[in-house]
Symmetry: C2
Subunit: 96 residues, 2 copies
Amino acid sequence: MRKIDENELFDLAELFKVFGDSTRIRILYKLSDKEICVQEIADSLGMTQSAISHQLKILKQSKLIKSRRDGKSILYSLADDHVRSIINQGLEHVEE
Amino acid sequence: MRKIDENELFDLAELFKVFGDSTRIRILYKLSDKEICVQEIADSLGMTQSAISHQLKILKQSKLIKSRRDGKSILYSLADDHVRSIINQGLEHVEE
DNA sequence: TTAACATATGAACAACTATTCATATGTACA
DNA sequence: TGTACATATGAATAGTTGTTCATATGTTAA
């Protein structure tokens, strides 16, 4: 494997930490094929709006999702294809 | 993205949780090109033998690493190429 | 402007986790 | 068998984190 410095490894751990929570993974999966508003995510996961909003903030800070306003709602979606790739790569290990 | 059930998402989060710790990521990186014994990992990371041993146990339970005895030492190495793939995929996102 | 709706945020608490310390287990060699 | 070496493990602790509750911010339409 190519050379990776300490800071990069630290950032990498931080990234995986974000994926390492079932609420956040479920949110990312919900967003994998379409953009959704906060309340819809909360309802579909059976969680409070506040809990979801807190997690969306973490996901956005990690640049895994993006958002845009649409009237009163805010629609969230995946930031780019890396997210799908990381999830798919993880699934290959889980499915053994 | 293809259909994934709740249990699979839960397992996926558990997997990423293991990657989501800088000590464990650094261990995995150390093991990425050769097998190493416990004390050598501890020395190279500047941590105690006990701390490393605890983390190795977690990594092994997640089937990310394997081990074999060599005399008094136990040599650890990556379980398979999935580990490298997952790390590389994560790096692509971190390096932006 | 006011009411209703949608989302964000801060504080507090409970649950979880990584490390430390002390010690146990296992191996090799004299 | 006894000693030194290498690793594993259990309990305790300190630090971290996800959720809840209450409330603030922002938007729309009457």
